[in-house]
């Protein structure tokens, strides 16, 4: 049966059903909470060339719809029926992007010919390495991030290679869990294979191959239709992750978005050099690597909810990923926390599109959703460990409505852990879990409120980790006259003499009775808060989401009365709003922390830094970046930036014997 526009939707539905079947099988049979609670997995069906054409409709991590498995498929000269391959090595093919992600692929044969591959990954809770769960910002080399399995035929011609399984088991902290998850992955691809064979029987081999091509073309055409509505131009945007290491410097992710007709180029030149921490993204410089395209995928989907997401969606786009930077790290850079940096790439993508489509793009969600883990001991002294959930900021304000509270926008895909489950599992006592007042940045449509979690630990040698936390230095930005967000907080013993703000540390050792408080970074707003409907401000005040003080100062709304009896004081509000508003001018409001930083580190200065660092060997860049920041901090801003920086660079070249103009 030939495939054409009359039955393309039929093929699309059948393929989606196959991918759903894979996801259901995985969720039903996997062991780890990452699969069942946070849905950190993927399954796809990819063409013989490796391009994903179908993903599950409602399940799994949202980053991989356009993934290209070609580098992994090409690892083997030939495939036989019954082969199943795996790898978790980020530096072998750049499909796995940190070591907990074990990727799997299996060819689907029809009468001796390969029709497609069924693929996917699970985030394993632990794959060994220096720290439990294998991930910490503080790790500096890939070797510390757990066992790596290079691409290997785990099953060759239907026979399982036990040695591979034993190597995995021997190197991890909970081998049974990894074993259970691996079995689930095998079941998943086997179900996918069976489902695809049914589809091929229905349509025929040639029509299937042709139809799959049409699914990619369809998504391609849809994406181009969206991009055609974006004005041509170059749109630059940059944002900063928290310090690049403990006590380090901000890490910049920069993007120049070039829209030409129905195509988009995402040029990440200007992003910082790869780091001696685990924030690096292993992309191999591949121009449609999913990690640097997540933001684009979100933007396209937001502009057209009907868009089909597959590798075709990304065809009109390409990325430029300079080698040796955080967006294209070289071995042996640690990559475990690449999700934090990936969130920054999403944020700068939204920021760039916001300039092209100011009335359609929201303020970005702030990123940096802290994944909290507690490792402690129970009453009998036995070690217990539990993930007690993500704590992050809300969604950015949008042109039409407030941002989603507690989680939203690009970081709204995680589920939380019930307080009752956490308290039943580990001896911690929760003091608060909810939304924190005045954390949604004021705007005509405000940012979503941040989540707050506060708990007390009760055993000695308790370790709390807040992985993936961000924005303790620079807040999330607002757009169209709205305010910027507030920075995040990670505090030990708040409100006591021993109160300690923990900065960007992601691991803290606690004593019995210590209280930990985490507040997510605030999301930016959209539009002038003085144009927010007074009733909406009143509702927020009644709900306790906005304080009367903020209502007055930030929104120009005077509230009389308290609690459910609170009312808008119309006259006072009119007077407040008649006076000069607080609306920021310009497209973006960056917040005072970032404004202060960029008063020194202007775009010009940063461009010079980028140019210089690109000219030295990769291994020197992080080191030199810190020397340069130190020097600039001491020197202050005397005279012309270009001359000052040139002098600093020349001095460093001389001091360390670097060639005058090396280039990679």
């Amino acid at each position: 049966m030939a495939v054409d526009e009359r039955n393309l939707q039929v093929l699309a539905n059948f393929c989606a059903a196959a991918a759903d079947a894979m996801a259901f099988t995985l969720m039903r049979t996997a062991h780890s909470a990452f699969v069942k609670e946070t849905e950190d997995f993927s399954c796809q069906i990819v063409t013989r060339e490796g391009l994903a054409f179908t993903s599950p409709r409602h399940f799994g991590a949202p980053w991989y719809s356009g993934i290209d498995y070609r580098p992994l498929l090409d690892m083997f000269d030939s495939y036989a029926e019954g082969d199943i391959c795996v790898t978790n090595d980020p530096y072998s093919g750049f499909v796995a992007t940190h070591s907990p992600d074990l990727h799997i692929w299996k060819p689907v044969f029809h009468e001796g010919r390969i029709a497609c591959f069924v693929v996917g990954h699970i985030h394993n809770t632990d794959v060994g390495g220096a720290v439990p769960a294998s991930l910490s910002r503080s790790l500096t080399e890939i070797e510390q991030e757990g066992v790596r399995i290079p691409p290997v035929k785990l099953v060759a011609g239907g026979v399982l290679n036990d040695f591979v399984v034993e190597v995995l088991r021997a190197n991890v902290r909970s081998p049974d869990q990894n074993g259970g998850d691996l079995h689930a992955q095998l079941a998943c691809v086997n179900v996918g294979e069976r489902k695809i064979r049914e589809i091929i029987r229905r349509f025929g081999f040639d029509a299937f191959i042709e139809g799959v091509g049409m699914l990619l073309d369809y998504a391609d055409r849809q994406a181009r239709a969206v991009l055609r509505k974006v004005p041509d131009g170059d749109y630059f945007f940059a944002d900063y992750a928290d310090e690049d290491s403990v006590g380090g410097r901000p890490c910049r992710v920069a993007l120049t978005l070039r829209i030409r007709g129905d195509e988009a180029e995402l040029d990440y030149t200007g992003s910082d050099p790869q780091l001696a921490s685990s924030l690096n993204m292993p992309t191999g410089g591949r121009e449609r690597h999913p990690l640097v395209m997540v933001g684009l995928t979100y933007v396209l989907y937001t502009l057209n909810n009907d868009i089909l997401l597959n590798a075709g969606t990304l065809r009109p786009a390409r990325a430029i990923l300079p080698e040796g930077t955080v967006v294209n790290a070289q071995r042996p850079a640690a990559v475990g926390m690449r999700s934090l940096t990936c969130a920054m790439t999403q944020i700068v993508t939204v920021g760039a599109f916001a300039q092209a489509l100011p009335h359609l793009m929201p303020a970005a969600s702030p990123g940096g959703n802290a994944i909290l883990n507690v490792k402690t001991a129970d009453r009998a002294g036995r070690p217990v460990m539990a993930s007690i959930g993500p704590v992050g900021g809300g969604g950015g304000g949008t042109p039409f409505c407030d941002g989603s509270d507690g989680a939203g926008g690009a970081t709204g895909f995680l589920r939380n852990t019930p307080v009752e489950i956490s308290e039943a599992e580990v001896p911690v006592h929760f003091l608060r879990y909810g939304l924190h007042p005045d954390t949604g940045a004021p705007g005509r449509y405000r940012g979503g409120l941040s989540a707050v979690m506060e708990f007390r630990v009760s055993s000695p040698e308790t370790v709390v980790t807040a992985r993936n936390r961000n924005r303790s230095l620079m807040p999330s930005w607002g757009v169209q006259g709205a305010h910027a967000g507030v920075v995040s907080h990670f505090v030990r013993n708040p409100g006591t003499a021993g109160e300690a703000e923990l900065g960007n540390t992601d691991v803290v050792h606690c004593d019995p009775g210590d209280v930990i408080r985490v507040i997510g970074p605030g999301a930016g707003g959209y539009g002038d808060p003085f144009r927010r409907a007074p009733e909406a401000v009143l509702a927020d005040v009644r709900c306790g989401y906005v304080s009367p003080g903020s209502a007055r100062a930030d929104y120009g709304v005077a509230i009389a009365g308290e609690g459910v009896r609170a009312q808008v004081d119309e006259a006072a509000t009119a007077a407040l709003r008649a006076a000069t508003g607080t609306a920021a001018s310009g497209m973006f409001t960056f917040g005072r922390e970032r404004v202060a930083f960029e008063s020194v580190w202007t775009r010009e200065r940063y461009d010079l830094l980028t140019e210089f660092l690109a000219s030295v060997p990769v291994g020197w860049r992080f080191f030199l970046k810190h020397r340069i920041f130190d020097t600039v901090a001491q020197a202050g801003q005397d005279g012309a930036v270009r001359e000052q920086m040139a002098a600093i660079f020349a001095r460093l070249r001389a001091q360390y014997g670097l060639p005058a103009a090396a280039s990679a």
């Binding site: 949202p62 989907y301 039409f400 509270d405 589920r415 308290e423 306790g544 609690g563």
Partner: protein, 683 residues
Amino acid sequence: MGYRVGVDVGGSFTDFAVFNEADASIATLKVFSRPDAPGAEIVAGLEALEARHGIAASGITYFTHGTTVGVNAVIQRNGDDIALFTTRCFEDVLQLGRLKIPRIHDLYSARPAPLVPRYRVFGIAERMDARGQVLLAPQRADVLAAIESARAAGCAGIVISFLHSYRNPENEKAVKALIGEVAPELPVFCSSETWPIIREYERTITATISGYVQPRVARYLDSFERVLRERGVACPLHITKSNGGVMSIDQARAECVQMILSGTASGVIGAGYIAAASGFPKVLSLDIGGTSADVAVIVDGQPQYGVGELIGDFQIYVPSVSVSSVGQGGGSVAWVDEMNVLRVGPDSAGSTPGPACYGRGGVRPTVTDAMAASNLLGHAPLGYDAVVVNRAAARTAIAPLAQALGVSVEEVAGNIVAVSVSGMYAEVSGLISRFGIDPREFHLFAFGGAGAMLACFLARELDIKGVVVPPTPGVVSALGGLIADLKNDFIRTLYINVDDAGVAGLAAPYAALRERALGWLRDGQGYTGEARLTVSADMRYQGQSYEIETQLEPAWLENGDTRAIVAAFHAEHERLFGHADAHGAVQLVNLRLVVAGHTPKPPLLPLPAATDAAVPLKTVAAWFDGVQLETPVYARMQLRAGHCFGAPAIVAQDDTTTVIPPGFSVNVDGFGNLLITPQRKEA
């Protein structure tokens, strides 16, 4: 001897099923629903029963009723303004939910607004720990202030949901007592009473939905009861439940949350009963109406139960018959998108204005129009003389699509059906994967207005045994309510390790649950027959985040038989997942008990045997997949047991049309079911 009556009020029609205890016959009746005047359809039906079947209200000995009043209140957001009392500093439980946003790729996506806005949520200074120890008891002054605020906010009821109340309801009970003392006019809903499960959001939303719909449902039930009494119905009244059982109307008034999904549950119960009694042990029930197709897995007459069934924007966690729903039905609208690709749904013409071919103002082409344009419908009146199928109107509605795609109306009509069915296929396929069943062992059991019209098309895509169409597909839900047992669920969260120490502590909670269950059945429902008790536990390996319900023997609990309990869990894990960890530590989270009291079931009446071959009414030129075929049309009334014929074929009856495309053969079984079997494909 008298009449047992089941009534199911749906969006378009209200169905009656009447079981005559004297001769075991079943009469059926359909009247228009009256969303504008709930209760009016009941009166109309009672009058019609008397007029057409000579059944007097005073002769009715048993009455069951299912209604969508509760679920509609949630979907339409027109429930009452209520307050929520939570543990202080945890007031945002409804706002946060489980955090995940509905559309994860959409930067505008947000969780639905909660049923109780945050300004009507009041934190109470109180605290329980995970072991059920009271750390802080509620203080009178504090609670009084919250009640005062709730009153000031105009709340019509109060939901109380405190942390760890599943373990110890003491603090919730204390606050409830205080409200009863100072504000007796406000109904109170404790999460520990509604459904005492661990996980604060799930327990709170369940209690909240209960409180939100209760006043509206209770008012409806009051007027329903008054109407029946005024008409002379004197027997006890029962209400169908989401768990596939029934309960007394008094319990329904107090626990509206139990009936919220009773409509879909009744259909599945009815389907399961007919299928099992007809000798089909494993079926997928397929209920297709105007806007959606509902599918459920039934084994030996027993449906699967789920928690977290969707109600509007929210999930509810009381045990409910598990039904998967996809937005494809007879009214789903076909269109051509900007890429010139044919699509069907998610828009639906519903029952108003309905498909174009019904001539009630609909102009957009629907799946039903595609069937009509293919000349597959309208060969006998549909919907009790309510609609006449206008094939020309269907063709007119589809013509623009045909033009856009450059093919004939009949060809695109075939494509519309295929696209719609592929959407249903995707949902059924997911269900098959989710429950890990083998479709080759299952029949599709088709009912609802459009089930029989589309079931064979869906069966073509599934590797399934066949399709069963019962004699009266339109009243399966009403019948389901009629035959449903009295049934209630009980749960106790224990959260223990399954070792000898933990298991020793099971006997007492089991005995307590058993006593409550028997009390519910005997005292609450006035049932004197034998009680059927089913015990199970939600268990998991330590470290897993999801539990598996495992059936247990009461003796294991009474005797502390750790080995048997652990072995049962390993076996269930092995059955579901294909592997088990014999050395893994096992946790028992919840102990569950289901109590049921038997309700008489009408036997299925045999259909007289055929004495000669089936003779079609006529032969028409119809289109299947865009190909014209001479197609015989049979009248369902004229078919007899043992009749068999080939395909293509159309079987017309007054409440539905069964369409059988080529590739099937049809047999009429001894109970009048159409058994439609695919000709085996080459492997």
